[in-house]
């Protein structure tokens, strides 16, 4: 089971890195989400995969039975999913804004923040829609 997990995490990470190398931002964002999934699986694996008994304390007991699954990684992953979702949502909104305001989602075409020429001296690039976003 562990080796299967390791292979899956490896494939997801490789795919994520491939997406990071893309030139447009939506793909980078998808890469981020995939890497996040890989990391979550890694946390689950780090907490040892074994029992699949739900980590629930029965009403008349005060502690988990020894056979239960490790609940801590699940709690960590839940937190990480929530945070990752928030970050991804913000990043997606920023990319949408970028498409609307700058007219592009390709970092190479953005010259606003780091161009040597003062921004107001640049002719405003036409906010043309890019269809060939590959």
């Amino acid at each position: 089971m562990e080796s299967l997990f390791a292979i899956a995490i490896g494939i997801l990470t490789a795919a994520a890195v491939y997406m990071f190398l893309a030139r447009d931002l939506p793909r980078v964002l998808i890469g981020f989400i995939m890497l996040g999934t890989a990391v979550n699986m890694l946390i689950l694996a780090a907490g040892r995969i074994g029992s699949i008994v739900p980590a629930l304390v029965a009403g008349n007991e005060s502690a988990l039975t020894a056979a239960a699954a490790n609940p801590l990684p699940q709690a960590l992953i839940l937190t990480a999913i929530v945070i990752g979702f928030g970050l991804a949502a913000f990043a997606l909104m920023l990319i949408v804004k970028s498409q609307r305001i700058l007219g592009t989602v390709m970092p190479e075409e953005m010259q606003e923040a780091e161009g040597d020429v003062a921004p107001q001296a640049l002719p405003a690039p036409a906010p043309a829609r890019r269809k060939d976003a590959a």
Partner: protein
């Protein structure tokens, strides 16, 4: 005690919540935000005096005993960082009442600002590595919002660069936390530190250390992952840039110092040289970047990177003097760098621009601004008797004592180049003849007071640290000794030894 321990978290949380409720009433948000900042400073000072008297303060949240629940630990280093956070919160809250306040507050500056402070204070208070991750994210989300507050073209571009690298840095951190849990079976920093030297697979632990170094290094903007900082900081509005410059990178530095003195101290022979090389490369690239730029904000942004290198020297050498130097340097740098950004905002008001080519004649027009600029600028370059001199003195002397001559030499040379950049700003903005086009931006008396008051206060503080160094140096040394006393920290948090374990796992 418990209530004092959580005060630095509760106060910004309540302030952020209240200012968010008063969304449509910016006029009420402003005094509320300022009151929250003052309260935070007060509680942090109380914590510092308590930590000075009683040693590390420890609180178990929700009454769960140490390795299981979330622990808050405030030792001297944390308390110092909290005080400086409170100080910056007050300074920037006042400064934010200056020009542009109305637009900023309408866009939601106050709730985001206090959320940022919440994240920073949480990162300084926690004694749990997963909790540290959560506070990093609180800080990160708030900083995203603050960075693109005005929604200009420049900010969207800078914001994307900032977001992209920080998202990846975040995942590195999370990955390291997961692997560390897999190795040690615990998330409590003190418990990890207790278990770490006895782990069989030291190679895997070192790999986790490198992952953490990358994750925190990305936040601290060290070489070679600093590119996001000069791409983004100068696009933010001035109060935002000042609070970013003061606190964000320093949280990364704090995390590096905390984790590497506590968890990886037994492996210092492996990490020391790595951090040393990173520190030198960071100093040099930062200062060279600054030398090549002609926008005040961009010069200052690159200098943040350069100065981060000095702060890492403590981790590279691991001697009490070196770590004390790092602590003193962090304190000095936060005050000075925030002040320089505040002054850059004032220069734009008085001279009409951030670009050095369009500035000029400010010394003739505004001699007081010139004097106020000289204090932090010369302090940044490390001229005696200002605060930067003592920080650099401690760091370089520690380098010489540890026979790290290259490190000490680079630190000295970078100081000279820093002076070059500061003199460049001085020559261009203050001494040069006023260019035809340069025009001051009109502002009200109120805005002027709000801008100059924090600048004046921070400059006075820089002078105080410089001329009356004794107590600050003693505090830094005590903090450094506490940082190096791992057993003391573990004892304070865990008390009698308890263990958390993995099912069928490492324990």
């Amino acid at each position: 005690m418990q209530i004092l321990l959580v005060a630095p978290l509760l106060i910004p949380l309540c302030t952020a919540a209240l200012t968010a409720i008063l969304w449509s009433r910016p006029d009420l948000q402003r005094p509320l935000g300022l009151a929250g900042a003052w309260l935070l400073l007060g509680s942090a000072v109380a914590l510092l005096s308590a930590a000075w008297e009683h040693g590390p303060l420890v609180g178990q949240m929700g009454g769960w005993a140490a390795p299981y629940g979330i622990t808050l630990v405030i030792d001297l280093f944390s308390a110092i960082m909290l005080v400086i956070t409170g100080l910056m919160a007050v300074a920037v809250a006042i400064y934010a009442m200056g020009p542009g306040a109305v637009e900023r507050d309408k866009a939601g500056f106050q709730p985001l600002f206090h959320s940022l402070i919440l994240g920073v204070a949480g990162a300084f208070s926690t004694g749990d590595i997963f909790n540290l991750y959560v506070w990093f994210e609180v800080m990160l989300i708030a900083s995203f919002g603050l960075l693109v507050l005005d929604r200009t073209r420049e900010q969207i571009d800078g914001g994307l660069r900032y977001v992209a690298l920080n998202l990846v840095g975040t995942l590195f951190f999370l990955m390291a936390v997961g692997l560390l849990y897999g190795l040690t079976g615990t998330l409590n920093l003190a418990d990890i530190a207790r278990v770490a030297p006895d782990i069989e697979n030291q190679g895997a632990l070192a790999a986790v250390g490198v992952l953490l170094l990358i994750a925190f290094g990305a936040k601290a903007a060290v070489f070679p992952i600093f590119n996001w900082l000069p791409a983004a900081y100068h696009t933010a509005s001035m109060p935002v840039a000042a609070i970013f410059a003061a606190l964000l990178t320093k949280v990364g530095v704090y995390a590096i110092i905390r984790v590497f003195t506590l968890i990886f101290a037994h492996d210092a022979a492996f990490f020391g040289p790595i951090v040393g090389v990173i520190a030198m490369a960071t100093m040099v690239t930062g200062v060279l970047g600054a030398a090549s730029h002609y926008d005040v904000r961009r010069i200052l942004s690159f200098h943040i990177i350069s100065q981060i290198g000095y702060m890492l020297v403590g981790v590279a050498l691991m001697t009490p003097l070196a770590i004390a130097g790092s602590v003193l340097y962090v304190v000095h740098h936060i005050i000075v760098k925030a002040n320089l950004f505040l002054i850059a905002g004032a220069m734009r008001q008085e001279g009409g621009s951030f670009a050095l080519r369009r500035l000029g004649g400010l010394w003739a027009a505004k001699p007081i601004l010139g004097l106020l600029f000289l204090v932090p600028a010369l302090s940044l370059a490390g001229l005696p008797p200002l605060s930067g001199f003592w920080g650099k003195f401690a760091v370089i002397r520690a380098g010489l004592e540890a026979e790290a001559y290259v490190l000490a030499g680079v630190a000295l040379a970078v100081g000279l180049l820093t002076l070059y950049s500061m003199i460049k700003i001085w020559n261009e903005a203050f001494w040069k003849m006023k260019p035809e086009a340069a025009k001051s931006i009109p502002w009200t008396r109120r805005e002027r007071v709000a801008t100059y008051a924090p600048i004046l206060a921070l400059a006075a503080l820089t002078l105080t640290i410089g001329l009356w160094t004794e107590p600050f140096a003693a505090l830094s040394l005590a903090a450094a000794e506490e940082l190096l006393d791992r057993q003391g920290y573990i004892q304070a948090v865990l008390g009698s030894v308890q263990t958390a374990g993995l099912p069928g796992g490492a324990e």
